[in-house]
């Protein structure tokens, strides 16, 4: 059921035989030689094409490689060319000479063997030595020049291209000439634009960026192999083998997520043969332990625990689906409505209204009452083909989205597709939509079926298993058999698959709403579905091509929900990010003049905590839906400097340090004070799950976790239950109390991650009851936004120093902010 698009984009690779000339593709064994430099080993032919020297000579000169080997099917067989006397292999020194008679020939180097007196004594005429490379070619009787026919069919490579590809091989020996034509290899890729002529131009811009990101992702993940891993074996509820082990995370931001595929290997010993198996990550424990469910249960060396290796198995699926969606967008007229097509490309289009009768009330059953801005949002989006909803932190965008989906589903225009980039967001939304009474199917990637989900009962795989009708008994019987035996006979397996597919289709078709990730919308199981109405939550965290996947299934009405004042999509490849891949579709539409409808009432933060974010990020429009009284920490005895203002900036002057890995930072003083604050919260009656520690650096995160569990004044277990994580991983979530450790404390350097206003916004808006920020004001105040924050805290007498039980207002001087942030 895979669509053709899915494997289309790798086409064209590997067309050449191994010994084809890497410049022109000629592969006649009589015409090619292999460069014998171990790191190179590339084949080249002896044709000049339209360049000055033959391809092999060109390569040897450009790359400064000097040894070659003949092809095994050439007249001399697989032979490394070397001096018959001294073994010198430098082809620039070698030449043939007749040994006494014209019919016996040897290779001899010109330095020093050509001046060996003994040879003259043997009556050899050394003046007749004939260099191997003559007229910028190898001797043509040794390595044939390809025929004209062969040359004409070959790729016509220019001297410039040769120089470029040789340059490229210095860093990437496997690069092909095709890679030269792709931007991003030797120069910056074409940046994203605001408007596009057509979907082909759009594809031309985004396809290389997605490719760059995919290559980077692959390179990074595949370099994550770990040896000497210790395994703890277990058996899952589905009787599958589960391996538990610690897979330490590096500073490079690679986060394993449930559904990732890893390969577990054992090299074997006297009692066990070598073994390997692929599995899916089904969960990550708080102790950073990975649970890997193995695909095959047979032959697992369960009596061994040590000496395993783990590799990451990279999958191109998500990137392939983005490429596929862009292609569909370009070639399939029915992929989106004309209005949406032109609108997405930034063309001027006359405003259209959707002719639908509006409901009398805009709330939905099973959901909380909507506030005025939420009602306004629901009402306006129902009438427009494209709308943006901006939901600042805690403003109830999930409820609003669910209400919109409810009303769209009731309009009878077919099934509604609901997506978000992350599984967590999809689950939350699916739950809320299901609460309105609509029939929801949550479609999960096959690799995540074993991952536990709060909305398991809504997932397609669960519903297939639990569909309770008698005509499904055959499927159930086979399922049971499969569960018990681990596998089925091939005929049963065939039957099972067909029945399962039919049941899946039946359940999916009968749903009002399908919920899945953006990438999940490209699942082959949805290939024949059409969705006129699509809502994408957290759309500001998705790249454009990712957003396109759910849209090209026939969208006529699109609602993008998000907040472009919070963090955008995570792009690992800097080149792709610089070119604009990190800009979401939502943001581009804002830049094109689409005005987002803003939800204005926040229900999360203590009013004191929302004041600064509202003023700095939302033009002061954020209203409080909670009162001070609803956010009183009653019974919690914590030394807030100003009662009724559960916030303070704790001045820290400790030095930053580079972490052991050399790629991150830590700050010991801040870490020690984080522990004191945590302990003080715990002592005053706060439980660990209420506390979140945020720090932008992995080095500091690891250090804090370690420090608290070793030096914490209370029971170790309490500290282990406290979540310590990056700003990014807290996006979309909340905690009652947040402690933010800024780390950077070097007056001569920047503040790194904290420079991004969107990251600061996210960090400041996670807490419901109280926030403590630890940092060095002297360093932070150079940045205008931080300067504003520090001034705000100072004005409210919340900028403090000294021991925690005796906090005093700090008189620390701020620096002048460098430049105005725009």
């Amino acid at each position: 059921e895979e669509t053709g698009d899915e494997d289309g984009y790798e086409y064209g690779k590997g067309n050449f035989t191994e010994h084809a000339c890497r410049y022109c593709g000629v592969s006649n064994p009589a015409c090619v030689v292999r460069c014998n430099v171990p790191s190179c080993r590339k084949w080249f032919c002896n044709s000049r094409g339209n360049t000055s020297g033959s391809h092999i000579v060109n390569h040897l000169v450009r790359a400064k490689h000097k040894e070659v080997c003949l092809h095994k099917d050439s007249p001399l067989g697989e032979t490394i060319l070397e001096c018959y006397n001294c073994g010198c292999r430098n082809v620039f020194l070698l030449g043939f000479i007749s040994a006494k008679t014209e019919s016996v020939v040897v290779l001899l180097c010109r330095e020093p063997c050509l001046s060996v007196n003994a040879l003259k004594d043997m009556n050899w005429d050394l003046s007749q030595w004939c260099p191997l490379i003559d007229d910028r070619c190898f001797l043509q009787w040794l390595v044939k020049v390809p025929s004209e026919q062969e040359q004409l069919r070959a790729r016509q490579i220019s001297a410039q291209q040769i120089n470029k590809v040789e340059e490229l091989w210095k860093t990437n020996p496997d690069a092909s000439l095709e890679d030269l034509e792709k931007p991003g290899v030797d120069d910056e890729p074409q940046p994203v634009a605001l408007k596009y002529e057509d979907a082909y131009q759009y594809q031309n811009v985004f396809a290389p960026l997605i490719k760059l990101e995919a290559d980077y992702d692959k390179m990074m993940k595949e370099s994550q192999s770990k040896d000497n891993v210790t395994i703890r074996w277990d058996i899952g509820l589905n009787k599958k083998r589960v391996a538990y082990f610690v897979f330490p995370k590096e500073d490079n931001e690679l986060r394993l997520v449930p559904g990732d595929e890893l390969r577990l290997r054992y090299s074997g010993d006297a009692a066990h043969p070598a073994w390997q198996s692929v599995g899916h990550v089904i969960k990550l424990t708080a102790q950073e332990e990975v649970a890997l469910e193995l695909r095959a249960s047979q032959g697992v060396p369960v009596d061994v625990n040590h000496g395993f290796s783990v590799d990451f198995v990279w999958k191109s699926t998500s990137f392939d689906r983005m490429q596929g969606a862009m292609k569909t967008f370009a070639v399939d007229e029915t992929s989106v409505s004309g209005y949406i097509y032109h609108h997405l490309l930034g063309h001027e289009v006359e405003i259209q209204m959707v002719r639908n009768s509006l409901p009398r009330r805009f709330g939905a059953p099973g959901l909380p009452e909507l506030n005025a801005s939420q009602v306004f949002a629901v009402k306006s989006v129902l009438q427009k083909p494209i709308s943006l909803i901006q939901g600042p932190p805690g403003t109830g965008k999930t409820v609003t989205s669910a209400a919109i989906v409810y009303h769209m589903a009731k309009q009878g225009q077919g099934q509604v597709l609901v997506c978000a980039p992350s599984n967590v967001a999809v689950d939350q939304l699916a739950e809320k939509i299901s609460a309105t009474g609509l029939k929801v199917v949550r479609l999960c990637a096959k690799s995540r079926e074993a991952v536990s989900s709060p909305v398991e009962h809504l997932t397609l795989h669960y519903q297939v298993r639990h569909l309770d009708t008698s005509d499904k008994s055959e499927l159930h019987k086979l399922q049971q058999l499969k569960d018990e035996q681990g596998e089925l006979s091939s005929s049963d397996e065939k039957k099972y698959k067909a029945l399962k597919r039919a049941t899946e289709r039946e359940i999916t078709q009968s749903a009002d709403v399908i919920c899945c990730t953006c990438v999940g919308a490209g699942d082959p199981r949805l290939a024949n579905f059409r969705f006129r109405q699509v809502l994408i939550d957290e759309s500001t965290q998705a790249t454009e091509p990712e957003c396109l996947i759910p849209l090209v299934l026939g969208a006529k009405q699109v609602i993008l929900v998000g907040d472009h004042c919070q963090l955008g999509p995570v792009i690992m490849c800097k080149k792709a990010a610089r070119a604009g891949l990190a800009q979401s579709l939502f943001e581009r539409l804002v830049l094109l003049g689409v005005k987002p409808i803003r939800l204005q009432v926040q229900y999360r933060m203590h009013p004191s905590l929302s004041e600064f974010p509202s003023n700095s990020f939302y033009e002061g429009t954020l209203q409080n839906g909670v009162t001070i009284n609803e956010r009183l920490s009653s019974g919690i005895d914590f030394p807030w400097p100003v009662p009724n203002r559960p916030m303070f900036f704790y001045v820290q002057m400790g030095q930053e340090e580079i972490s052991a890995s050399g790629t991150s930072y830590l700050n010991r003083t801040e870490a020690a004070n984080v522990e004191k604050i945590v302990t003080s919260f715990l002592r005053s009656g706060v439980v660990p799950s209420q506390i979140g520690v945020i720090t932008p650096y992995e080095g500091q995160r690891a250090y804090i976790v370690n420090y608290m569990s070793r030096n914490g004044a209370l029971r170790q277990q309490l500290y282990k239950e406290i979540e310590v994580a990056s700003v990014d991983s807290f996006q979309g979530r909340e905690k009652d109390y947040i402690i933010l450790s800024c780390v950077r404390s070097n007056e001569h350097q920047g503040i790194g991650f904290l420079n991004d206003p969107r990251r600061l916004n996210v960090a400041l808006t996670r807490a419901r009851y109280g926030i403590v920020i630890l940092g060095n004001p002297k360093v932070l105040s150079k940045q205008p936004l931080w300067n504003g924050l520090l001034t705000h805290y100072k004005e409210h007498e919340c900028l403090v120093e000294g021991p925690l039980n005796n906090l005093k207002q700090s008189m620390v001087q701020f620096q002048k902010p460098k430049k105005i942030y725009n």
Binding site: S103, E111, A159
Partner: protein, 124 residues
């Protein structure tokens, strides 16, 4: 047509580029020679064994006829001007000597010079 096309391709080579490449190539050769001189101080020695059997019978066909062919082929070859000559190439694989047969155009510089030499020797 093909020929025209190929000629065009050849004509397309920029003489300046050829000159530049020639210069680079000569530089690599020069560099290699100097490097060798530095590496090998002291007198070069003869360190090779020529298996004598390769020379056996070589005088018979040193006029450049294709050896081992049927007489008919020989005639044909003669008609075409005997374009190719079979030679024995001595190569080493690791430390092992091997003799390989291959054909070399009669007009190649290698054979031309060898022939001149032999002719000169005969005259003597």
């Amino acid at each position: 047509d093909d020929e025209v096309h190929v000629r065009q391709m050849v004509a397309a080579v920029d003489p300046q580029e050829i000159a530049n490449f020639d210069q680079e190539l000569r530089a690599v050769v020069q560099e290699s020679v100097e490097q060798r001189k530095l590496e090998l101080r002291g007198r070069p020695t003869l360190n090779m064994m020529l298996p004598m059997n390769v020379f056996e019978g070589s005088t018979k066909d040193h006029h450049g006829r294709v050896v081992g062919g049927e007489s008919g082929d020989e005639a044909l070859d003669e008609e075409l001007g005997g374009k190719e000559v079979q030679v024995k190439v001595l190569v080493k694989r690791g430390n092992k000597q091997q003799t390989k047969q291959m054909y070399i155009p009669r007009d190649s510089t290698l054979l031309q010079s060898a022939k001149q030499k032999e002719a000169a020797e005969l005259e003597e």
